[in-house]
Symmetry: C2
Subunit: 213 residues, 2 copies
């Protein structure tokens, strides 16, 4: 902007108006990305859905890719926070912790199909996001392995090593695929069964890895 915002307008200070516009763009970004997909995430569509003039796009972002990244990071942060909170609030028991984490993820991502599309579909296809998704996958794998170590003890953890990481990747991939299949109505179970049976598989595989590692 040639003339940076300084003055209050409509009783709202300049900094807050900027923040509101940025938030409106992000909300529009989640909407577009989660329904139409990355191909339709254009400056024009974004501003039209946000009810803003195109000029204001460049006030908050330089390119559409920046919006892509910001939307993705927002959803991932929300997901991480929900999982961490759920695990912290669950009873001190392997299965209860696992169930709480799975339930938090499933509920967040199936309550809002846009978020699930962002995480499971759009994150893969765009170059900028795929690198980020790899980081996220590593983080979730580490989180899962770390949780398992807390319950099975550090000595067993040492034995587990690559096997544990491999199993964690499998479980996360299976959870992702089962969520997308469920959202397509391709899994003849209700959401509670989805959570319960996923927990069963997490526990089964976790115990198997410890036993055999």
């Amino acid at each position: 902007m040639a003339t940076p915002a300084r003055r209050a307008y409509g009783g709202v200070p300049a900094a807050q108006r900027r923040a509101q516009r940025r938030a409106a763009l992000l909300a529009a970004g989640l909407d577009l990305l989660g329904t139409e997909g990355q191909r339709r995430l254009t400056v024009g569509a974004l501003c039209a859905r946000a009810g803003l003039n195109e000029r204001y796009f460049y006030e908050s972002f330089a390119t559409c890719e920046d919006v892509l990244v910001a939307v993705y990071d927002e959803v991932i942060a929300e997901l991480m926070a929900a999982i961490v909170a759920a695990v912290a609030g669950a009873p001190d028991d392997t299965r209860a912790k696992a169930r709480a984490a799975i339930a938090a993820a499933v509920e967040l991502l199936t309550d809002d199909a846009r978020k699930s599309r962002v995480v499971f579909v759009e994150a893969l296809a765009t170059p900028v996001l795929s690198a980020r998704r790899a980081d996220v996958a590593r983080a979730f794998t580490a989180l899962l392995v770390g949780q398992a170590q807390e319950f099975f003890g550090a000595e067993t953890a040492l034995r587990v090593g690559a096997w544990g990481e491999f199993a964690a990747v499998y479980l996360l991939g299976g959870l992702a695929e089962s969520m997308t299949a469920w959202l397509r109505n391709d899994l003849p179970v209700d959401r509670d069964e989805l959570i319960e049976r996923s927990t069963d598989l997490f526990v089964l595989v976790g115990e198997y890895v410890v036993r055999r590692g």
Copy 2:
């Protein structure tokens, strides 16, 4: 074409030339889709990579989406054929059959990273392909459930039902995620271990479903 091909040229009959051009476009399509992604799959790029004039695109396809679908179908057909052949040639034993199928899929998709990208990435993001991918996922799930029924018997299969389908989706999702993680060098195992450990998990989950179904 205003004047349909009739005459031989360069010693090659018209129908064969058409088929060669179509095949060249499909090869270019796999190349572009598997490296650059759907965004770069344009008429111009396709014909440039195929060494053809843009006019010839419309001889074999009406839109770029048609190329997308043809490339995807080709890869899936190849994958299905490799799996079916591997299963048919394997010893009559649960684990051997499972291992053969997994090895065939892993080898085909990791030998050619373009195919893995088409199947695991591009198939999700494009509307035309995502519907197709859902069909493919159902087919693979049915194939896996069917194979399991052959070994555990029809009576147990009846008990298994939705549980078996759910577990099959999980295993296929896990296999997909582990392959993409392996291709990113995020799994500290070699390809034989990837196959062997995947087989372990398939057998583990399969037996669990039958036991508990």
